[in-house]
């Protein structure tokens, strides 16, 4: 694996490997010095053409805990308009001897396009409506913590599937792990060729909630009500929102996920995020460890950190000695 562009490029075993090594990276965060030298001397550029403080911070913390140097390439939002040359950007980064580029862009395909002009590893941190592979790996990890092996489980993804990179990534990831996916949305918010996807479709939220093992809510953009995708957000909340009644219908053991940030009162009723079954904070917490695992798999060499590290103080001492 040279890049992480799309979940479509991964096998189920690739995803399981990320899930297998993630706990050892999560453990690093618990250490007094929350850092391992795995990527020491390597430089990771964070190229965010679209604002996303959460994702950028998560990648930055992950890279720093692996001892990589990080570089925020600030692309002012005003210049993210028409006319930017991707090749110029790529060649500039290449000239600086960067080892990996984490890229977020509002246009689908940009991470893949950058690989044409870059030798550095490219990690897709979200491109247009296309893919957000690390989010999907985080969600797989979070669900794995909740449900164990996802094989045979039934996961509902609810909301604006059509315009969602999270939905595209998660449909691929969940099904590669053997889960079955039901998409819940009004027909206007489904992709045109949803019949070619390995999913079932349900337009009635209550019917879908009757028998699921997990529910994944997508963020509903306010602009959608201005282009006749839905009449208004009130009707959307009534028909497709996770109300307290629907949370009760699915049952307290069914985890509810959301990629954040949540529109309270739209896709999720105001009181629901406080329920124990809502695991949004777990998703955020898992973000750093999963991204460490991904960066390690792309850039690292040798085995991942030992688990638990505390059992072998001599190796830590040796590491400290060589690093000073």
């Amino acid at each position: 694996m040279n890049h992480l562009l799309s979940i479509d490029d991964l096998t189920g075993d690739d995803i399981r490997e990320v899930l297998r090594i993630t706990p050892s990276f999560a453990e690093v965060a618990q250490r007094r010095i929350a850092k391992v030298p795995a990527l020491r001397g390597q430089t990771v550029a964070l190229l965010f053409y679209e604002d996303s403080t959460r994702t950028r911070l998560s990648f930055e913390v992950a890279a720093k805990r692996l001892s990589a140097d990080t570089l925020n390439v600030s692309v002012s939002s005003s210049s993210v308009n028409k006319g930017e040359s991707l090749r110029d950007t790529a060649e500039t980064i290449e000239a600086m001897g960067i080892d990996a580029v984490v890229v977020r862009h509002r246009s689908s395909g940009v991470p893949l396009q950058l690989t044409r002009w870059l030798d550095a590893a490219v990690l897709n941190a979200g491109d247009g409506w296309h893919q957000h592979p690390t989010q999907a790996l985080i969600d797989c990890h979070t669900l794995h913590q909740q449900l164990g092996d996802l094989s045979g489980s039934r996961i509902a993804i609810v909301g604006d599937i059509k315009h969602s990179r999270v939905a595209r990534s998660n449909v691929a990831a969940f099904t590669k792990l053997g889960a079955s996916v039901v998409l819940v949305a009004p027909p206007t918010l489904l992709p045109a060729a949803v019949s070619t996807w390995p999913v079932t479709v349900e337009t009635n939220m209550d019917a879908a909630m009757a028998s699921v093992d997990a529910v994944y809510l997508l963020r509903m953009q306010r602009e959608r009500q201005n282009s006749a995708f839905v009449p208004d957000l009130r009707e959307y909340a009534i028909r497709y929102g996770m109300t307290s009644a629907r949370a009760a219908l699915v049952g307290p053991d069914v985890p509810i996920l959301h990629p954040g940030p949540m529109n309270r009162g739209v896709e999720i009723a105001a009181a629901v995020p406080d329920l124990d079954q809502v695991v949004v904070i777990d998703q955020v917490r898992n973000g750093v460890a999963v991204r460490m695992a991904v960066l390690f798999l792309l850039l690292g060499s040798g085995p991942p950190p030992e688990l638990p590290i505390a059992s072998d103080p001599s190796s830590e001492a040796a590491t400290s000695a060589t690093s000073t």
């Binding site: 110029d88 246009s107 409506w129 893919q131």
Partner: protein, 424 residues
């Protein structure tokens, strides 16, 4: 340097059929063997196909206004290298060809071209779809063809007026059939691949509802309508049914739409972003079958040169278009297993639509103008835009292996390509 040339030993293909023979050229025309001087130069066409010169109904030549991408001269070099002897230059230049003065200016520029350039005019002022351009004045200035290209004429009432007003002028009216509202600023065909790639999709119906509408207007006005770069199986069927019902409708398809499909966008190659978008595999096959059956009249290049910076962008921000003058014949010979159908769609049928002469008049028989192409169909060529004559490099066909190498192109009796080389 128009002289006397004998093209010997080839397989002749024109509207009269396919046969072995020689073609003799003298003083810009095809003549009989008896009329040739002893000093005639021989062009060896052994194992080659010889046909009437190719006619492209649809090319954007960049000049005036976009000279960094292409000029009329550089575009004409690409044209003759690809076997074309006549190219229709689209009016979407800067300034737009919406007055006789601009048409005459482009005509002057075309005087330096290596092939015949037919200047197309706009239907509406500035191609903005509001006011009619002076169609009579354009016709008087020698314009044979008018179109608003890219945008098409969206307003049905305005298009009705165009068809009625232009009827006595003898103009061919080209329409880029697409409902902008239904297309909704999409970047590719709506289907499995747009759903997968996360790109906004344009349904086939955005094209088909306007073709249906304009077939109705052709019936209402009894006027001729030429549909530009159709791309969907549904649109081909609508045009074919209209023609069978006796309406004077015709249609073209671009070389890209007979050889590439939406699946070929899997790597977000912006050189394959074209208008209309690459459609599904079944649409591509329908296009080939319609050409073989004669239900689509013409293959066009839709040659659209773009500078590098217009293409090295995110897919949704890149300009659409591919260059095509140097690859259209190869694509046609590769995709259509019938050279006569390929030459019909690339030469004598578009010539007829443009009013350059009936297929029997513009042929390889004595008396015809000496616009001739000689192509070796057994030589395969791998497309490499870097080696092309066009100033632009945005070829959707990069890396493809195409059948056929142009050996000679004669424009008005003058060899502009000999031994596969464009003349200096």
């Amino acid at each position: 340097m128009t002289g006397a040339w004998s093209i010997r030993g080839g397989t002749l293909i024109d509207a009269h059929g396919t046969r072995s023979g020689d073609v003799h050229v003298r003083d810009r025309r095809i003549v009989g063997a008896d009329d040739m001087p002893a000093s005639a130069t021989e062009i060896d066409a052994t194992d080659c196909l010889v046909s009437t010169g190719l006619v492209d109904l649809h090319a954007h030549l960049g000049e005036p206004g976009n000279e960094p991408a292409e000029t009329i001269v550089s575009g004409s070099r690409a044209a003759v290298a690809g076997g074309f002897t006549t190219v229709v230059a689209m009016p979407d230049v800067m300034p737009c060809v919406d007055t006789a003065a601009v048409a005459r200016h482009v005509d002057v520029l075309a005087g330096s071209a290596l092939c015949h350039i037919e200047v197309a005019g706009a239907i509406t002022v500035g191609r903005s779809g509001v006011h009619l351009a002076p169609l009579g004045e354009l016709a008087d200035a020698g314009v044979r063809y008018v179109t608003d290209c890219g945008t098409g004429v969206q307003n049905p009432l305005l298009f009705r007026r165009v068809l009625e007003y232009a009827r006595p002028l003898g103009l061919l009216i080209g329409q880029a059939a697409r409902s902008d509202e239904l297309a909704d600023n999409a970047h590719m065909h709506e289907g499995e691949w747009s759903s997968r790639l996360g790109l906004a999709g344009e349904p086939a119906e955005a094209e088909e509802i306007v073709v249906m509408r304009d077939v109705s207007l052709a019936r209402l006005t009894r006027a001729r309508v030429h549909f530009q770069t159709l791309s969907t199986a549904g649109a081909f069927a609508i045009v074919n049914a209209a023609r069978r019902s006796g309406l004077a409708v015709s249609a073209e398809v671009s070389a890209a739409h007979i050889s590439l499909a939406d699946a070929d966008l899997a790597t977000y190659d912006t050189n394959r972003k074209v208008t209309p978008p690459l459609r599904s595999e079944s649409d591509v096959n329908a296009a080939c079958n319609s050409l073989l059956a004669g239900a689509i009249d013409a293959i066009v290049t839709d040659h659209t040169p773009c500078t590098r910076d217009r293409k090295e962008r995110p897919f949704d921000q890149a300009d659409p278009g591919t260059i095509g003058l140097e690859t259209a014949l190869g694509v046609a010979l590769t995709r259509l297993d019938d050279p006569a159908a390929a030459f019909r769609a690339l030469s004598w049928r578009p010539a007829e639509l443009l009013g350059l002469g009936s297929p029997k008049e513009r042929s390889l028989m004595p008396g015809s103008p000496a616009d001739i192409v000689v192509v070796d169909p057994n030589q395969n060529v791998r497309v490499a835009a870097a080696t092309m004559h066009s100033l632009a490099r945005n070829s959707a066909f990069e890396g493809m292996e195409l059948r056929g190498q142009v050996r000679a192109t004669l424009v008005a009796g003058d060899p502009k390509v000999r031994d596969g080389q464009v003349m200096k």
